[in-house]
Symmetry: C2
Subunit: 322 residues, 2 copies
């Protein structure tokens, strides 16, 4: 065994001790013509991304249109997921709302199902809040849920939320709540920020919010990635993960392909885009529907997306089922 291989084995063992690791998918939320959650298609998609190699499902992320659904709708869908037999330890549930009462209700509900990993946005309407104010918002939820097994992943997506998870806020929370503070999804797209979080908080599972940073992240000590585009290209990210953990020498090449496909999927309207692609390749027009304020893609936009992904080396037909 070479030194390099030994070192990789240690790194993989460290990953497995983190509060979460791997490639996680914020599952798209299909909706019916009247914008209600389509539980059947949701479960089909959830199972498909797991079969394709995702380590877990990050339910109710940005890509899931989570903020467009009520607390009651989100509770109903998680109930259905659990009832369908998807294991609680393969779930991370988005529970961060503007109201601490809502975040508490969603977090307590997830925990009641044995789902202890939650991904929390900060309250995001009011801007310019202090780290202390934000720490109190998260802390109130943690104290009210009062479950020692709870593991909170903080969701840093300043472009959409307008409210950053700063290093100072992480410091405050880690000092107050110890191992309950488990990680971060960093969707800033700013590698320097991701690297700073990994360096300052080696005990946390830091997930870049895009597979573009997957290999770079693994080399630096990140936990994997939580990535929107795993809804159509889950195996692409998983291939990077497998190549790196097994140290088979192909990780760079696999990362290059995953990155090219990701770039093709990064349109101005990524959620309607992925839904359109699935609708098209599964011959299932219902998938095109998004809940307002999002708007479904037109046919020409959709065709351009298919062409772009194809040009990037992706076979859009791979999202077909059955």
């Amino acid at each position: 065994m070479t030194t390099a291989t030994t070192s990789r084995a240690y790194a993989v063992a460290r990953l497995e001790r983190l509060p979460a690791h791997g490639v996680w998918s914020p599952v798209l939320t299909p909706v019916t013509a009247d914008y209600a959650i389509d539980t059947g298609r949701f479960l089909q998609q959830a199972r498909w991304v797991l079969e394709q190699g995702c380590h877990g499902l990050a339910l109710f992320g940005t890509t899931s249109e989570a903020n467009s659904f009520s607390v009651e709708e989100r509770i109903g869908l998680l109930d259905a997921v659990i009832e369908a037999g998807i294991p609680a330890d393969r779930l991370m549930v988005g529970t961060g709302c503007n109201a601490i009462t809502d975040s508490t209700e969603l977090t307590a509900h997830a925990a009641s199902h044995g789902v202890h990993r939650v991904l929390m946005l900060p309250p995001f309407y009011y801007k310019g809040m202090s780290d202390e104010g934000l720490a109190r918002a998260f802390g109130t939820v943690i104290e009210r849920v009062n479950d020692p097994d709870l593991r909170v992943f903080l969701y840093h997506f300043p472009r959409l939320s307008g409210v950053p998870i700063t290093l100072g806020l992480l410091n405050l929370l880690a000092a107050r709540y110890g191992e309950t503070i488990a990680g971060v999804k960093d969707s800033s797209g700013d590698w320097d920020n991701t690297a700073a979080m990994i360096e300052r908080f080696p005990q946390l599972a830091i997930f870049p919010g895009s597979e573009i940073f997957l290999l770079q992240g693994l080399e630096a000590g990140a936990a994997g990635c939580i990535t929107a585009t795993s809804n159509v290209n889950p195996s692409g990210s998983r291939a990077v993960w497998d190549a790196w953990t097994s140290d088979d020498g192909s990780a760079g090449e696999r990362q290059e392909l995953a990155t090219a496909i990701r770039r093709a999927l990064e349109t101005e309207q990524p959620v309607p885009g992925q839904k359109w692609l699935i609708a098209s390749e599964r011959g299932d027009a219902a998938w095109k529907t998004v809940r307002p304020p999002m708007l479904e893609l037109g046919d020409a936009q959709g065709a351009a997306l298919i062409e772009a992904t194809h040009a990037a080396g992706f076979d859009p037909a791979s999202v077909a089922i059955g």
Copy 2:
């Protein structure tokens, strides 16, 4: 009767035909030590701002920390306000949430109490949404509530929401929903935008979101103002309104004073600031509490605020009750 006076009388008559007019107050929401809504203090404040001359109450605005409360909490407070005998026609209820299901529930609830004026933020998590997508979000709520008496005021506060109410969106909505689209609260602080809305949509009640623009707005055809600082200086804005509508020649001077006081209250944390000022002047420390992510002011910040308002010509003691 001079021509100028006649012309003012016509302008006032036009104001009274608008879907709403006057000085409206987004009432602060006092909370208990565990961050629950303090209904008793809320009702006291609601009655006080009406007694001090506000034409109506804009419940659940930004200043009310509305987005920090759940749908259930907001419903409970409106029930209490109605039960306390505050007339439905002096209310405008904030009902715009991220989820169209939540906005529908809040709007239908208000309408069920005979409160037909609602102030709606757009869904504000997802950025870069199209006017058509936003029109569908508002339109879905309007169609589901399905009440011909409903009057929707759109809430334009791009600095906090990140989602503007554009002239194009107003065009779409006015064309589709006619007189249901009743007005705009323009908290952009951009007079050119306010002026453009007044000019393009003379049938709508356009409310600047600050009394700084009250006189300028009235001269240009605005409906009045909906202003945060009416929680501590309601009579200041009302005095501008009365001077202008009665054409007594004192409007300019009254506006100057109201503007100076407003500037003193425009700190980085205006909601904790107004709450601190009320707590201090009413000798009622409970008023200092804000719900996270906001943070209450410290004593030194509070003292500086009192001093600044005093220097601006305001008597902080005027917020005292009884």
